[in-house]
Symmetry: C2
Subunit: 317 residues, 2 copies
Amino acid sequence: MDEFSLIETYFKPLHASRDDVILGIGDDAACLRVLPNHHLVVSSDTLVADVHFLSSWDAYDIAYKAVMVNVSDIAAMAATPCWVTLALTLPKIDTTWLTRFSKGLSEALNHFNIALVGGDTTRGPLSMTLTMFGVAKGDKILRRSGAKSGDKIYVSGALGAAAFAVTLTKASLLPQADIMELMHKLQHPYPRIDLGANLQIYATAGIDISDGLAADLNHICEASQVGACLNLAQIPIHPLVQQYQPHKALDFALHGGDDYELCFTINPTLEAKFLASMAAMKCQCYPIGSIETQLGLRGRKENSEVIDLKTFGYRHF
Amino acid sequence: MDEFSLIETYFKPLHASRDDVILGIGDDAACLRVLPNHHLVVSSDTLVADVHFLSSWDAYDIAYKAVMVNVSDIAAMAATPCWVTLALTLPKIDTTWLTRFSKGLSEALNHFNIALVGGDTTRGPLSMTLTMFGVAKGDKILRRSGAKSGDKIYVSGALGAAAFAVTLTKASLLPQADIMELMHKLQHPYPRIDLGANLQIYATAGIDISDGLAADLNHICEASQVGACLNLAQIPIHPLVQQYQPHKALDFALHGGDDYELCFTINPTLEAKFLASMAAMKCQCYPIGSIETQLGLRGRKENSEVIDLKTFGYRHF
């Protein structure tokens, strides 16, 4: 099997039913019709073997996660994902692996009606770069830079499970069902595209939590030239992390990363309307603190003591 | 230095002066304004160390080539390149290397006023994926699939130099100036964006020559369900390949690849107008054969004997 039949077999079928794909896989480039009065939103994420996933993972999970981390970036812009290119580097052609990879890719893309429209296939150490394109109505995108002092800080879901899952080994004494649930959070994150419409209207800034809440909220603060204070007891932590790691649970939530929930800020005068809209959509979200003029990141303990928070998260180098 | 200051130092300055970049490097995704009545053209190419380039190359040349191979794909669609994302995987942070890489990237992008709008930086074996976006007026893109029997086949320039350059070693006895010229063809290909306007009007199909003329013309034939016959003596071969490899020169041109010239087909009734337009633009091009209904690729020797041509080219696996 050569690279062309590889593409034909495993990737060409993943075109989704989108009539805005003028020309998909198989030419020098893809050609896409972009809607008038919509902006194009583009995100690129690389996953490297034994850095972002273990080579031993089921290829289904590797592909699934690769899609979801890119969808999460599009979600963090309050845009809608439409198309993706896949640049896949493989040490060799393994059809069993490719079949699982293609299946994971297909199922993840189908969740959002995203068409695979092109890419590249090369030989080398296992890694992949997905570049995803979404559209946003007019200029209504959710930037990192719009947070103002007084804004309320929210997260879209419980944190810490994926980072805890990374620490699990074969020797873990947890019940199999709990291990499965934690690994599911790590391998199959579900990006919060559902919040897009509400965030476009109500949020002043937003980011997806990939490096850890502290590091990612700090990106918002730096881009917006503000600081933040979190009410530490309000940070939602996944119940299995609370149960098995009660003393480290907050650390997993603040510095663990890989959660792919959204962190965003809401102007307090719009907060009631925002919460009513979220309730109408049956979307939960959690207030965790406020934006302040004082730069830096702080945490308020239950006894009201305020401490400085470290802003480190996942670092590649 | 962490990944964020790396991006800030080496890549954020490469934004070009484009007012259609609503939001560039530094958020979850880039946001781009696409022109009304224009289609978006997207191409993705990965370059892996010691597969597509030698790790020992000047990082300037690596970046330069990475840009040009993507521009070439956009050129092969008769579109105009506008924006690019860079997903860069590095074994470690080496600021000397990054300075050269960033300079090569910058100069290559500036040739075409392309803005670097985002990407990803990860740790792992050296490789990079560029995803490039161009725009094409309306649906006037140049596909591989439009060639018809009777169409004349053209290439945009001399072939074989890059493939010959790959075979050169430190022990090569060629004069230094000739080695430099050949390495320049390998490391600094210049994509034929200049032909876009003419190809949009006159060409029935087109492709860029990355895998070798035979393999790439065969892609046109397969996509168009036709065959082709080349007049072997008409194929333009780089003079240094003719000079140093007279017996293998045609093989380098047919099967060598890495040329990044364009191969395209012209309806014979429009050929005179096409050539007049090319002459007016001072663009050279070379007629090398004709499309035929009989499938497969053939070559006509100077003695009129017709032989079957192999369609192999560069293969990753």
